[in-house]
C-alpha cells in the first residue's frame, strides 16, 4: 500500500530588543518577539492536502502588522486531480496573467499574505487550453475579508495546441480573465459633503486580456485591464473607472540581451474591502518596472513603492558580455539599466467622478534610476563588481505624504571584491557610498544626507559564513543622527537547514519587494533565524 509522502518547510525568526533611543527604536516591553511558521504538504498520487501553522508571539517582530499577534493554522487545503480537472478546497494562491486584476501570494519578508479561502477548479479540456474558476474570501490576519471574490480565467497556448507552431519557433499565448468582488452596503459619507451618503457599487467587476508572442529570439508580453467604478479609501471614493496596461518586449542572443518595458496605471488599487489601506486585502499586483537592486544603499535608502492609483513607467535593461574574439582571458559583463516613473497629470472634475487625464498625461516625476554595473573576473582568485547609479525620488509623492515636492537627487557607487584565497575559503569586501544634499527642512529625519557603507564577509563553503557591516549616515545635518549602524552576522548551513545569528543596529526605513513596501522601525538587538525544508 502506498502511504504517500509528506514534505514541508519551517522558519523561525526571533529578536531580542535593546533600548536605543538614538536610532529611534521603539521600546519593546516584551524584550523578545518571534515569528514562526511550519508548512506541511501531504501528497498521494493525485491527492494532496496541506496546512500552515503560524506564530507571532508575544507579538509580531517590529515592522510587521500587530494584527498578526497570536498563533494558529490559517492556511489549510485539500486538492484532487482527475484527468484535466483539478479541484482545490480551502486556502490557495493564484495569479491570472501578470497579476493586474488578480494575484494571491505570500511575501513572508513583507508580512504580506492575501491567500483566498474558498473553492477553485482548474480544467484543461485539451492540451494548451486551461480554464480556472474560483470563489472565496481573502485572508485578513486571523480572519477573513468582508468582501467576496469571484474570478475566471482562460488561456490558450497555440504553441501547445498546434505543434507546427513549435517547429517554427513561434510562441503564442492568449488569455483573458474576469474578476469581481462583492461587499455589502455601508454608510459612507460623501467626502465633500458629510450630510450625504455615497451610492456604493456592491459588485465591482474587472476584466483583463493578455497576449504573449515570441518568434525566434524576440518575445513580447502585454496585458490590458479595466475596472469599473470602485470608490474606495485609497482613491478617496471616486467613481472613475480604472485601467492598467503592461508591456514587456525582449530580444536575446549570445552575449547580448535587451528588455524594454512600459506600464500605465490609473486608479487601479483593487481590494476586497473598500475601506482598507496599506497592504491589507489587496487583490491585484502592479509589476514594478525598476531594477531590483541587491546592494544595500541602492536598494534600501530610497526604495520605490508602486503607485497603484496612478503612474506611467518605463524601463530599459541591457546585458552585454564581451565576446571571446576580444581575446581577453575573462569576459566582462555589463548591465545598463534605466527606469523612470511619473505620476499621471490629472484635471480634477470637482465631483465624485474624480478626474480626467490623457493617455500620455505625464505628471510630476516620481522616481528615476539610471545605473551601470560591470562585473569582471581579474584572475582565478579575484572577481570585481562595480556599480554606479543615479537615483531621483520625490519622497513625499512616493510615500504618500502629500503634494509638496521633496525631491532627492543622489549618486550611488559600489565596489565589491571577491577574493577566493584558498579553495572553499572566500573573502568578500564591499564599499558603498550614497551622495546627496542634506535636506535642511527635515532635520528630524534619520535618513538624510550622504551615507557610507562597508562590509567584510568570510565564507567557508558550503557551511559557514561570518560578516560585519557598517552603514554610516555621516552626512546627516543633525550631528546626533550621524549614526553607525553596525551589524555582525554568523551563519551555518547543514543540509537544507540554515542557522544564522546577527547582532547590531537596524535603521528605520522601508522594505520593498516588487514595489510593495512596508515601514520598518529601527531596532537594536540580537536576531536568531532558522530556515529548513524537508
Amino acid at each position: 500500500m502506498n502511504w504517500g509522502s509528506i514534505h514541508g518547510n519551517f522558519g523561525f525568526d526571533g529578536q531580542y530588543y535593546n533600548n536605543d533611543s538614538l536610532i529611534g527604536a521603539p521600546n519593546v516591553p516584551e524584550r523578545f518577539r518571534a515569528n514562526g511558521f511550519l508548512n506541511l504538504v501531504y501528497t498521494n498520487g493525485n491527492f494532496s492536502a496541506g496546512l500552515r501553522y503560524e506564530m507571532y508571539l508575544p507579538k509580531p517582530l517590529l515592522g510587521f502588522d500587530n494584527r498578526f499577534e497570536g498563533q494558529g493554522i490559517p492556511f489549510r487545503y485539500a486538492s484532487y486531480k482527475l484527468g484535466g480537472l483539478e479541484v482545490t478546497a480551502g486556502s490557495f494562491y493564484e495569479q491570472f496573467g501578470n497579476g493586474l486584476i488578480l494575484r494571491f501570494y505570500e511575501e513572508r519578508a513583507l508580512g504580506f499574505d492575501n491567500f483566498l479561502d474558498g473553492f477553485r477548479a482548474k480544467y484543461s479540456p485539451y492540451k494548451g487550453i486551461q480554464m480556472t474558476g474560483l470563489i472565496g474570501k481573502q485572508r485578513y490576519f486571523w480572519g477573513h475579508s468582508d468582501g467576496l471574490v469571484k474570478g475566471f480565467d482562460a488561456e490558450i497556448n497555440f504553441g501547445e495546441l498546434f505543434e507546427k507552431l513549435q517547429d517554427k519557433k513561434i510562441k503564442l499565448i492568449l488569455g483573458g480573465s474576469f474578476v469581481s468582488k462583492y461587499q455589502k452596503d455601508q454608510e459612507i459619507p460623501n467626502p465633500d459633503n458629510p450630510n450625504q451618503l455615497l451610492n456604493l457599487p456592491l459588485n465591482v467587476g474587472s476584466w483583463a486580456g493578455r497576449l504573449t508572442f515570441g518568434i525566434g529570439r524576440f518575445q513580447m508580453n502585454s496585458e490590458f485591464a479595466y475596472k469599473i467604478n470602485d470608490p474606495n479609501r485609497t482613491n478617496n471614493f471616486i467613481y472613475r473607472p480604472g485601467t492598467a496596461f503592461y508591456l514587456s518586449a525582449s530580444y536575446a542572443q549570445k552575449g547580448f540581451g535587451i528588455t524594454v518595458q512600459a506600464k500605465r496605471v490609473e486608479n487601479f488599487d483593487f481590494r476586497s474591502d473598500r475601506n482598507e489601506t496599506g497592504n491589507a486585502l489587496l487583490m491585484n499586483f502592479i509589476p514594478m518596472l525598476n531594477k531590483q537592486h541587491t546592494y544595500m544603499l541602492a536598494a534600501t535608502v530610497y526604495p520605490y513603492a508602486v503607485q497603484t492609483n496612478g503612474e506611467l513607467g518605463l524601463q530599459a535593461d541591457i546585458n552585454y558580455t564581451t565576446p571571446k574574439w576580444l581575446a581577453k582571458k575573462y569576459p566582462t559583463q555589463i548591465n545598463l539599466n534605466f527606469s523612470m516613473v511619473n505620476a499621471l497629470d490629472t484635471n480634477l472634475t470637482g465631483d465624485r467622478y474624480g478626474y480626467t487625464t490623457e493617455i500620455f498625461g505625464f505628471g510630476r516625476k516620481l522616481y528615476m534610476d539610471a545605473n551601470i554595473e560591470i562585473s569582471q573576473k581579474l584572475s582565478k582568485k579575484v572577481k570585481l563588481n562595480l556599480m554606479y547609479m543615479y537615483l531621483f525620488i520625490d519622497r513625499n509623492l512616493v510615500q504618500g505624504f502629500g503634494y509638496t515636492p521633496r525631491e532627492i537627487h543622489s549618486h550611488i557607487a559600489v565596489a565589491d571584491v571577491t577574493y577566493k584565497f584558498l579553495p572553499k575559503h572566500t573573502l568578500r569586501f564591499e564599499v558603498q557610498t550614497l551622495q546627496t544634499k542634506r535636506e535642511m527642512d527635515h532635520l528630524d529625519d534619520r535618513v538624510n544626507g550622504s551615507w557610507l557603507m562597508g562590509l567584510i564577509e568570510y565564507s567557508f563553503a558550503p557551511n559557514f559564513f561570518v560578516s560585519i557591516m557598517d552603514q554610516w549616515n555621516y552626512g546627516n545635518p543633525t550631528a546626533d543622527f550621524r549614526i553607525h549602524y553596525i551589524t555582525g552576522t554568523v551563519g551555518y548551513n547543514i543540509g537544507s537547514t540554515r542557522f544564522s545569528l546577527s547582532y547590531g543596529r537596524q535603521r528605520e526605513g522601508i522594505v520593498c519587494i516588487g514595489g510593495v513596501c512596508r515601514q520598518v522601525p529601527a531596532s537594536n538587538g540580537l536576531t536568531i533565524s532558522i530556515m529548513s525544508s524537508f
Partner: protein
C-alpha cells in the same frame, strides 16, 4: 450540451451579474437623499442677471455690522437681484471663534465650507469686514471692501444675463430632509468650463454680536442674516460643461441634505445656487429660493 459550452454560459452569467455601474452624481437616493423625482422646469420669459455678494464677517468683529448694513441697503435697493451670503470663517481667528460655555458668543457660526472659500480667495488674510461680489477679480484679487460693493454691483447689474437659474425645493418634515433641484439654462454662447454650486443659508437668527457703535458694544438680540450653513453640492460644485456652452442648453442637478434641526430652522432657510466660470472663478448668475413655502 458539451462541458465547455456550459462553462462559457456560466462565464457570461458571471460577468453579467458582477458589475454595478453607478451613475453620477453617485449620491444615495433614499432616506438621506432625494425621494422626489426630478420636476419639470419652464424657461422664464424675462430672466435678469443676479449678483452674489459674500460678506465675510464675525460675531466678535465690532466693525462688521457696518458691512451687514451696507449689504442690507444694496439688497433692498435692488429687489430680487441680490443673493447675499454671510460667511463666518475660522480663518478670521478671534473674530469668529466661539467663547467657551453657554454665555455670550458661545455660538459657533463657522463651517468647513466657509473656511474653504476663505482659503481660496484670501479674505481673512486681507482682514474683515471684506467680501466678494460675484467673486470677480480686480487686479487678480476677488477681495472687495464693503464700501466698494455697491459700485461693483451697479456695473454688473447693467450687463444682460448669460444664464438663468431656477431652484425647486422639497422639504420633508418627517425626516427633515431637503431635496433641491437646480435648473440652469444658457442664454448665450459662452466658452469656458462652468460649474453650478448649491449652498444652504439661514436668515433671522438671533444671537450675540459685537458692535463698536452700540452703547456697551455687545448686542444680545442681533439679527444675523444670510448665514452660510452647509453645502448641498460640493464646495466647488458640479461641472456643467467643459469647454463651451451654447444658448438654449439646459442642465438639471439634484442635491439633498439632512437638516440639523437643533441648529437650523427650515422656515428661515434659503437654498442659493450660482454658476461660475472655472477658468476665472467669476460667478455669472445666481439665484435663491426659500426652503419652505
Amino acid at each position: 450540451m458539451k462541458l465547455h459550452h456550459f462553462l462559457i454560459l456560466l462565464f457570461a452569467a458571471l460577468i453579467h451579474h458582477s458589475c454595478d455601474y453607478v451613475e453620477a452624481p453617485y449620491i444615495q437616493v433614499g432616506a438621506n437623499g432625494c425621494t422626489v423625482a426630478e420636476p419639470t422646469f419652464t424657461p422664464r420669459t424675462n430672466p435678469v442677471r443676479k449678483i452674489l455678494i459674500e460678506d465675510f464677517t464675525g460675531h466678535r468683529c465690532g466693525n462688521c455690522p457696518r458691512a451687514a448694513e451696507k449689504l442690507s441697503d444694496i439688497y433692498n435697493n435692488n429687489p430680487n437681484r441680490i443673493i447675499p451670503v454671510a460667511i463666518h470663517s475660522e480663518l478670521s481667528g478671534y473674530f469668529t471663534a466661539p467663547l467657551g460655555g453657554t454665555g455670550k458668543y458661545s455660538y459657533d457660526f463657522r463651517t468647513e465650507l466657509g473656511k474653504a472659500i476663505d482659503q481660496k480667495f484670501g479674505i481673512s488674510s486681507a482682514g474683515i469686514p471684506n467680501g466678494t461680489v460675484n467673486r470677480k477679480k480686480i487686479n487678480n484679487s476677488a477681495v472687495i471692501s464693503f464700501t466698494q460693493w455697491e459700485n461693483q454691483v451697479n456695473q454688473l447689474l447693467a450687463i444682460p444675463p448669460d444664464m438663468d437659474i431656477q431652484i425647486k425645493n422639497y422639504f420633508n418634515p418627517s425626516d427633515s430632509s431637503l431635496c433641491s433641484y437646480v435648473y440652469v439654462q444658457a442664454l448665450s454662447n459662452l466658452s469656458g468650463s462652468f460649474k453650478v454650486v448649491c449652498y444652504l443659508v439661514e436668515n433671522d437668527f438671533i444671537n450675540w454680536q459685537k458692535d463698536y457703535s452700540y452703547p456697551g458694544e455687545d448686542i444680545e438680540n442681533y439679527q444675523h442674516e444670510h448665514i452660510l450653513r452647509a453645502p448641498l453640492s460640493t464646495t466647488w460644485g458640479t461641472l456643467l460643461t467643459d469647454g463651451s456652452v451654447s444658448a438654449g442648453q439646459t442642465f438639471v442637478n439634484g442635491y439633498s441634505i439632512k437638516f440639523n434641526m437643533e441648529r437650523w430652522n427650515p422656515d428661515n432657510c434659503y437654498v442659493i445656487a450660482f454658476v461660475y466660470n472655472e477658468n476665472t472663478d467669476e460667478v455669472i448668475q445666481a439665484e435663491q429660493e426659500k426652503v419652505t413655502n
